[in-house]
Symmetry: C2
């Protein structure tokens, strides 16, 4: 019985001598890759989602001058002291200022100028009386029925952005409002990190493109991972389907390492005689395979290697395993290479519809379907018979991660779900 139980342990590890914990696998990979990546200039309006390779320092003040924050009359606040509806004061009106006009006059004592929101405040004026508190009397004067304080209803030079400020930091992922800000600063071109190129190969003699001949099956992983690479803002390189042959795989990967920053290969990553991908990766130059076998369920046979400073990730052949290993390792690797902060996952809280269990010592990824109202979300674990069931990923909208030191979660427990698809809203078709 000794033998049997040792076989069992060996099986639990999928034939691996040792499984590397997930956090350790990340550290080993990131420590060994080179982060010397290219940069390029792009027009600001093509900058969405790109990663800034420079700090953006404002060369201007926004607003570029003091301007009216309301329609009304620019005045000297001291001239309005004591004004009220029952005791209005009268000021001389110097005329109208339109929005793009540079004022040709100063506002002196007991003088005022009519202007619209955004118009430049003339010298001498320090505040704006809102139009609702004014009445033009038709004789070149205006009645003011409220008092102002200096600065009231004025947007001041530089109050949004002052010259010399760092307004966007290196490694920022550019969002629409950042593009607005860059335009506001008069910047037309920015330096960003080059898009990462991620090559994707499937291995397997049984794989075919559609239409699929009898006896073969359609390649699922490569089109899925190419889309997943695009989803992360990277440029995919399609390496096609490669036969289960050491030299064929090696030739394809050597070519890929010339143009790609990261290489992904699916299948052939276990410890059987047909699992040649790890051996190929080990042959590509130091340090070669760094991690083979990760303490995670599914995706245990995942391998992580580096050659020429570039990551080569050997993903399991089952689509669910390939997807989960991709989600675990690739986004963090990309964030690291781009110098950006790790993007935290979007998690929500939901109540478990039934008990789930993990595997002690491994990180377990349970596919769930979340539904219900925001105030009372339910996470339904998807019943599957293993990593071969791709439909589980199509029906799921999130994962629950059971950490290495947890046995699982009980029915009714409130758990964190990493959502990858919006939840279904009860009653909405």
């Amino acid at each position: 019985m000794e033998i049997h139980s040792s076989q069992d342990n060996h099986q639990t590890r999928g034939g691996f001598k040792r499984l590397t914990p997930v956090h350790e696998a990340h550290e080993i990979l990131l420590r060994n890759v080179s982060t010397e990546l290219g940069e390029e200039k792009v027009p600001v309006n093509e900058g969405l989602y790109r990663i800034l390779a420079e700090d953006i320092v404002s060369a201007v003040d926004i607003p570029p001058f003091n301007r009216a924050a309301m329609d009304g009359f620019a005045v000297r606040a001291e001239d309005t002291y004591g004004a009220s509806p029952s005791a209005p004061i009268i000021l001389r009106s110097l005329g109208d200022l339109s929005i793009a006009e540079v004022p040709r006059f100063k506002v002196g004592k007991n003088e005022s100028v009519s202007l619209v929101t955004g118009a430049r405040l003339p010298d001498g004026a320090d505040s704006v009386v809102m139009v609702e508190y004014t009445k033009q009397l038709g004789d070149g004067t205006v009645e003011i029925s409220t008092s102002t304080r200096p600065g009231e209803n004025v947007s001041h030079l530089g109050e949004d952005v002052s010259k010399g400020t760092i307004i966007l930091r290196k490694a920022t992922r550019i969002l629409p409002q950042d593009i607005g800000m860059l335009c506001g600063l008069g910047i037309r071109e920015i330096t960003v990190k080059s898009k990462l190129r991620v090559a994707v190969a499937s291995t397997g003699n049984e794989l075919s493109e559609n239409p699929v001949p009898a006896g073969m099956i359609a390649d699922v992983n490569r089109p899925m991972l190419i889309a997943a690479v695009q989803d992360l803002g990277c440029e995919p390189i399609d390496l096609g389907i490669v036969r289960d042959d050491y030299e064929a795989i090696r030739t394809r990967l050597i070519a890929a390492l010339k143009s790609a920053d990261i290489v992904l290969v699916t299948a052939g990553t276990s410890v059987g005689p047909g699992d040649i991908v790890p051996k190929v990766i080990d042959s590509l130059g130091p340090p070669g395979m760094l991690v083979h076998g990760v303490a995670m369920r599914p995706s245990m046979p995942t391998g992580l290697g580096v050659a020429n400073g570039k990551a080569i990730i050997s993903l399991p052949g089952y689509p669910v395993s390939a997807y989960i290993a991709f989600k675990e390792f690739v986004p963090k690797l990309i964030a690291h290479l781009l110098g950006s902060k790790t993007l935290p996952p979007h998690t929500i809280k939901a109540r478990l519809a039934r008990r789930i269990t993990g595997v002690l010592g491994s990180r377990t990824y349970v596919r769930v379907k979340v539904h219900g109202e925001q105030s009372g979300l339910i996470a339904d674990p998807i019943r599957t018979s293993g990593a071969g069931i791709l439909s589980s990923l199509v029906r799921a909208n999130g994962f629950i991660i059971v950490l290495e030191n947890m046995e699982g979660y009980e029915e009714g427990e409130l758990v964190d779900v990493e959502l990858f698809r919006p939840w279904e809203i009860a009653g909405v078709e």
Copy 2:
């Protein structure tokens, strides 16, 4: 003092007779737009993020045959009953099956076939003994040291997807795993909703493209909103900058309605004499302006109109207001037009660093910066002096929404934050 206080109320409403509550504004808009939109066929591998216009019914079974889920020997389970390491049984070996091979023989009583994961199970066999429990004896027989149950280590025909199942429903937003599934089903082309075209115009005599002449300012809203339209997966149409002139704006919008599904116009949306956009929208045909003045802060002057069944949204000129009104109204409108379920926002819980107040009767959007560890996030409200401060949106990474019936939230309270940028992780550069 009566007059004064009535003026105050009028000001609180920004000169509007009545402010429409946010939820009512949504309903009015969605009730009036036409949802008859186009469809198109695209290759599956160009389908990422597109919205399915058809249910996808599987024409095949996945797996297409019973196959081995492990490397090992295909057997009849009944032949292995009672086998154990101390009492193995011996079966005849019929040879090896490779992965894409169609078996030419049946497995009969006390027979077995060596095969790899994914290989087709020969007729007669009903289970697979894992290779770890087998030993080839070299004389055409194999020793089996464990028993199997029928179905053990077998992936069954149709267990992932069975023929005739609806596997992806109409209105699904296609993700990478869906592309994998579609390829697995042998589908090469799908029918999706045509991309929505969203036209964006800025109005204002003071606006200029970069480089900006003296006295004018850069147009911030249009490049920001064009990127925001792309961010929602739609196709932007750039209508450029339009002078503050009734006929100029009208001509531009009439042209836009011919090619766009939604039209966005910024500025000129208040109730002053220069605010001509709502009048133009009202002239474009029934029903015209439906909502003018929304009970929200900022973005109160937002206008919602419809002509020819197409939504025309009049956004305030201040970039922060334009952005917040866009975020409030446009994603839900797009989801409605595409027939997809409302996408729930990504909210996280964070503790307020200081008290915030709303405006009773209005929905208030407070910009915050969230930082800290996931276990203890802090939301710092950004101190601003109004909607003119675009840098507040660049520094913020989320909103807290104070609903109409709330006075606000206290310092230390746990609140929901709608994140639009990842939070900063303490200690990570």
